[in-house]
Structure formats: structure tokens, C-alpha cells
């Protein structure tokens, strides 16, 4: 009977869960956030979040990388290097984009990993003040690479 309860609860959780997930390392707390499937952050304000959006209009990774880059530059984001090819922990190929952004009071780092399938786009973002992100770069990147589609 208890096994049936466990099975029912697990199926319910799978049906209602978010489309993408992050593995939260030590020092990160789950923050929630209406625009994201998963969002975690440190006490110093370094935030990593993931969400899935439809691939609409349908296009490949090159198109979306360029579209995102142009849009961010238009808003004042300054790239710190060329987009680079990456793979997440599940082996899904993607592209990483790196920027700095001054919000009027402080300079921030903004990292974005993009993965595109025929139907969906997985977006993994990380941001925080330059000093805070630089102090935990490896951890932030590892967390970003842990993002994956849940189904």
C-alpha cells in the first residue's frame, strides 16, 4: 500500500514538475521565480536560473545565438569574448555567451548558455556582481552545465 502511495506521488511530481532543472551546489539556495523553471542563488547575489522556451520561429543554434547576442548588445551588454561551443553534463551541444553589464550602480557579469532542439530552447543564465561571480566562476559554470531538459 505504501509502495502504491510512493508510486502515485512520484508520478504526480513528474507530471507537474518544471521543464528544466539545476543541480544546486553548496552555498546556493532555491529561490523560485515566476519566469524560470529553476532559480538558485547565493547570499551574495550570484544567481543561476534555467528555463525552456519554444523554438519558435523554428531555427538552429546559430540563429538563436546571433539573435540573443544582437538583442543584448542593443541593451548595453558588452561581450567579453566570442560565443563558444559547449556541451552540458548530458552531452547536449550548446553555445556559451559572456557579457558584462553596468546597471547604473554596479558592474555585473552575465553568462548565458543556449541549447536548441527542433522544438525547444534551453536557456541557462547566471549573473552577479563581477567580484562575486569571479570568486566562484568554476562553481557557477559547473552549475550551468548541470542544467538539462527534464522530459
Amino acid at each position: 500500500m505504501f509502495r502504491k502511495i510512493a508510486l502515485c506521488l512520484s508520478l504526480l511530481a513528474a507530471a507537474c514538475g518544471p521543464a528544466s532543472r539545476l543541480a544546486a551546489p553548496d552555498g546556493f539556495a532555491h529561490l523560485g521565480g515566476s519566469d524560470y523553471d529553476d532559480r538558485i542563488g547565493t547570499a551574495s547575489g550570484v544567481v543561476v536560473a534555467t528555463r525552456v522556451v519554444p523554438n519558435d520561429p523554428k531555427a538552429n543554434l546559430d540563429f538563436w545565438t546571433k539573435a540573443i547576442d544582437l538583442r543584448l548588445r542593443q541593451r548595453g551588454y558588452e561581450p567579453t569574448g566570442a560565443p563558444a561551443d559547449i556541451k552540458n553534463d548530458a552531452g547536449l551541444p550548446g553555445r556559451e555567451l559572456r557579457y558584462t553589464y553596468f546597471d547604473g550602480t554596479r558592474k555585473n557579469r552575465y553568462y548565458l548558455d543556449v541549447y536548441a532542439t527542433s522544438r525547444r530552447i534551453l536557456l541557462v543564465e547566471a549573473a552577479g556582481e563581477v567580484a562575486d561571480v569571479d570568486a566562484s566562476t568554476a562553481q557557477v559554470i559547473a552549475t550551468m552545465r548541470s542544467a538539462h531538459f527534464r522530459s
Binding site: F2, R3, I5, A6, L9, A13, H30, L31, G32, G33, S34, D35, Y36, R39, G45, V47, A49, R51, V53, D56, P57, A67, I68, L70, R71, L72, Q74, R75, G76, Y77, Y101, F102, D103, G104, T105, N108, Y110, L112, L123, E125, A126, A127, G128
Partner: protein, 275 residues
């Protein structure tokens, strides 16, 4: 040419209550947002600018606009004050022109002053634009005061009603707590070790889910407390010198294809950190 939107009744609320277009002018829009229906009223809005998926029609005249938005403001304040269970977050975008480039900076500072006078604060500032957060209950008042500081060329407001999500979370929380209690009773009467382990595992999972939902409810309450108004202030460009033949001409900014993907505008530090 924009046609005045009709005030919709609560019965015509949209299917997707999470995000909806909201009009500033018609009092009925606000009544709809705060009435028995959990979803805000949605109006068909004419597109007046490229990024205007969220645009509201421009006001017919400054006088008419002021009077209609004033009545909306007072209705909104009354309605929201009467119904504390409604959690609505507004997101406004305004573009305005001022007389000359020297006034851009002072106008931006006045916008921040308006927000602070209403209990809000600066959320971000970049050359020519500023983003402020104001108490949601005073959003319309802030909108009216700030749009009076220049000649508005573009304005849009979206209203996100998170009441339903909040109430759903409340119901889920109650159900989970009932489940937790039943599991605790099962655990107390478990006969075998394997049953005990299974129930404990489920108890742990249910407890984590309860924590998550309680955190989500706290977040929604805090999130709905403040709304965001982003304002871009521009001045007429200075006259350009005539380019003499043979002079090197700087390339124009790249043309960006407008895409039907609103998430592109949601990328970035501000949304990520303040969501």
C-alpha cells in the same frame, strides 16, 4: 489609427490569467482586475510601435488622458484597497521626449524622485533610461506623475495577476499538510522496516515540497508588493553635418529582425536578479 478599447466585463476574462494586457484608461478594466474573476480584464490593443506587443493605444488627448487615467487611478486605489486577496504586479514601459539633451538627465532624476516619494526606489539606470519599483497599489499614481514629465511617444502596461497562483499554492499547501499528517500516522503504525523507510522517504519529499510552496507564497507576496516602471527619455537629435563626398561614413547600427519571442527581452541581469 487606434480605436478606443471597450471595457470588458469580468465574464470575458482571458483563459490565461498569468499575464494579460491591461488598459489604463477605462475604469472597467481595473474593476475587472479586482472583481470576482481571478484574472484581469484583457483588451485588444493596437500595435503602435515595433516592440508594442504590450502596447496600449495612445491617449486621445492630454486632457482626456489625464482625466481618464485619474479616474482609473482612484478606482484602482479603491479597488485594490478593498480586495487584499488580489495580487497584481504591473510592468510599465514608457518612452518620452524632452526639449533638449540637457534635460534628459534631470528628467531621469525627477522620475526617481517621484518613485521615492511614493515609497518606491530606483531599480536600475542606464544612459537615457531608468527603471523604478513602486508599491503596486500606487503604480497608477506613479505612472500618471511620471508620464507628465515629458511628451510620451510610447507607453504600455501589462498586469500579471498572481492571485490564482497564490491561491492554488495555498490549496496545494493544505493538501500537502494533510498528506504529511497521514504519512506521519502511517509511520507511527508501520509494522516493517521497509514500510517505515518508504514512508519516511515520502515524508521527506512532502516536507521539501511544503517548504518550496511556502517559499513560493512568500515570494509571490513580496513580488506583488512592488511593480516596475521603465522609462526611456530621449531628446530631439542634434542636426547632423552634411557628409562631404569622400568622407568616411560610420556604419549604422545593425538592423535587428523583430521576432515573436518575448523571452528575448526578458534575458538579462535585471530579470534574473529581481525575479
Amino acid at each position: 489609427m487606434s480605436t478606443p478599447p471597450s471595457a470588458a466585463t469580468p465574464a470575458s476574462a482571458p483563459e490565461a490569467p498569468a499575464a494579460a494586457e491591461a488598459e489604463l484608461a477605462p475604469p472597467g478594466a481595473v474593476d475587472g482586475a479586482i472583481g470576482a474573476s481571478p484574472a484581469p480584464v484583457s483588451h485588444a490593443a493596437n500595435v503602435t510601435a515595433p516592440a508594442a506587443a504590450k502596447s496600449a493605444p495612445p491617449p486621445p488627448s492630454s486632457t482626456g488622458s489625464t482625466s481618464s487615467t485619474t479616474s482609473t487611478t482612484s478606482t484602482a486605489k479603491k479597488g485594490e484597497a478593498d480586495n487584499p486577496d488580489v495580487l497584481v504586479v504591473y510592468d510599465g514601459n514608457v518612452s518620452m521626449m524632452v526639449g533638449d539633451p540637457a534635460k534628459v538627465s534631470t528628467t531621469l532624476e525627477r522620475i526617481v524622485d517621484v518613485a521615492e516619494s511614493l515609497g518606491g526606489h530606483l531599480a536600475g539606470r542606464r544612459d537615457g533610461s531608468v527603471s523604478v519599483r513602486v508599491p503596486s497599489a500606487r503604480f497608477h499614481e506613479a505612472f500618471d506623475k511620471i508620464t507628465a514629465l515629458g511628451d510620451v511617444t510610447h507607453q504600455s502596461v501589462t498586469a500579471e495577476d498572481v492571485s490564482e497562483e497564490y491561491h492554488d499554492a495555498q490549496v496545494r499547501l493544505q493538501n500537502l499538510k494533510s498528506t504529511q499528517k497521514r504519512l506521519q500516522e502511517f509511520l507511527a503504525h508501520s509494522a516493517s522496516m521497509s514500510d517505515m523507510l518508504t514512508v519516511e522517504h515520502e515524508l521527506e519529499r512532502v516536507s521539501m515540497e511544503i517548504d518550496r510552496i511556502e517559499g513560493r507564497m512568500r515570494f509571490l507576496r513580496d513580488h506583488a508588493a512592488f511593480s516596475t516602471l521603465s522609462v526611456a527619455v530621449m531628446a530631439p537629435p542634434k542636426s547632423q553635418p552634411i557628409v562631404v563626398s569622400g568622407t568616411k561614413v560610420l556604419p549604422a547600427s545593425p538592423r535587428i529582425l523583430p521576432l515573436h519571442a518575448e523571452w528575448l527581452d526578458e534575458l538579462g541581469v535585471q530579470t534574473l536578479v529581481s525575479n
